[in-house]
Amino acid sequence: MSDKILIAGNWAIGEAAIRAGCRFYAGYPITPQNELTEYMAENMRRAEGGTFIQAESEIAAVNMVLGASAAGARAMTSSSSPGISLKQEGISALAADELPAVIVNMMRGGPGLGNILPSQGDYFQATRGGGHGDYRTIVLAPASVQELADLTMDAFDLADKYRNPVMILGDGMTGQMMEPVVFGKPRPRRYNEKYVLKGAGEGKSKFIRALILDALRMEEHNWKLVRKYRVVEQNEVRFETYKTGNARLIIIAYGIAARIAKGAINRLRDSGMKVGLIRPITLWPFPAQIIRDTAERIDRFLVFEMSTGQMIDDVKLALEGKGHVSFYGRPGGVVPTPAELAKAIVQEYRR
């Protein structure tokens, strides 16, 4: 396996992006994702037609991406929680303009400046659009460095397919840690070139804008976006199930938390407790159906998040009042051990 390399998550995103044809990156330094910006600085300039810009702010970076995307480039920006708050203006504009872009959020503890440790406190922001107005971004939640690489490539394809911003929602730990990675083969870029602004040539000029002053037209645009989102919801839901077959209690966790959950489940299975896991890979669209279906057989769920409880709302919406949902949360940058989580699960299991 000579093509397997040991690489940090932040670098893996950068490498996967470049391999997927990303040719425009703008970013601003913020821990814990600086390695990605540095990787792009080093390698984007070497890619043919590649542009790297260290922007003056997160806001400038995402707006540069807006320009590059409209001009036809596969474009990406990245940051961590506080910086993602600043980018929301541009993400809203990308969604309104129906422009493809990839935004990486390696989440850290919050609110405010918080800290630089791994956290999952930005779930609401990521899955509810994040900025102003009626829109959604596709949100992918990788749980390993391999998945960071794979999902980064997929993110560009999804962004093009739906002409929509796609967010990679990682955390400080998946970005910093190294794991063996085999980079997949990127698919050829497929997108409708018609929207790209390249200058009108001899033809009719085009414009891309988000301002729609007429209420009925704005409403029409809103519903048009919703119809697109419905298609995304139908086609793009991804999840993993782990030892759910004969389980009596289902853990629901995403990202690094889901890995910890697997560790806890293995311990508990060793001592005869029937526990399984549903791991959402897309956070929006949320894998509601599998949770609803599982509730036909199993009525106890424990949501584990490295936050005070955000995804649990989506789980409850999915369950439509069925089953019993409990919660174990560790916000603030705490990464509990599988043993700690196992203890919390046992309490719930024995109830």
Partner: protein, 178 residues
């Protein structure tokens, strides 16, 4: 099987390289592996550490609350981590500068005078690789061949002389410990 090791010392001792070279060797042998460095403000204070987990199945958490092995290159790191090591685990101490002894009786303790060995080889900068020789020998997680292959890939093909001194350092550490 899942084994977690923390490599700790101060900046400049090559602590992160120790962890990385070992993790890569484990990857070469087909293990699941995670390497997690300390980062951010933590590393600005002059101390550095990293955690390597090696397993034959998927690794749940790259963090080691109870490491099996602790490779310690300076006194402050010994103070920080000595209570966390799992019973039955082992310390690898840089006995050239670590004067104290761990206050644990339920673990093995191996001392390696890395500074003396490295200066005998004529290069004080290879102390970390001397330590890795002892570590690889006693833990038997990866073979010496895999470790040297990993080292070679890190040093690159251009630096033959660097590889030579590092190989000697590794062998010296490997042979020092019985």
């Amino acid at each position: 099987m899942q084994i977690k090791t923390i490599f700790a010392g101060f900046g400049g001792q090559g602590v992160l390289m120790m962890g990385y070279s070992f993790a890569q060797a484990a990857m070469f042998e087909g293990f699941h592996v995670t390497y997690l460095p300390s980062y951010g403000v933590e590393v600005r204070g002059g101390t550095a550490n990293c955690t390597v987990a090696v397993s034959n199945e998927e690794i749940a958490s790259p963090v080691a609350s109870q490491p099996d092995y602790l490779v310690v290159m300076n006194n402050p790191s010994l103070m920080s981590f000595q209570t966390r090591i799992a019973p039955g685990g082992a310390f690898f101490l840089n006995s050239s500068i670590i004067t104290g002894r761990p206050n644990r009786s339920d673990v093995d303790i191996w001392g390696v005078p890395t500074a003396e060995i490295a200066s005998e080889l004529g290069n004080p900068r290879v102390q970390n690789v001397v330590m890795m020789g002892a570590y690889v020998k006693m833990t038997r997680i990866v073979s010496a061949e895999s470790y040297l292959k990993s080292l070679k890939s890190i040093l690159g093909t251009k630096k033959k002389a660097a590889m030579e001194i590092n190989r000697k350092a590794f062998e010296a550490g490997f042979n020092y410990i019985e």
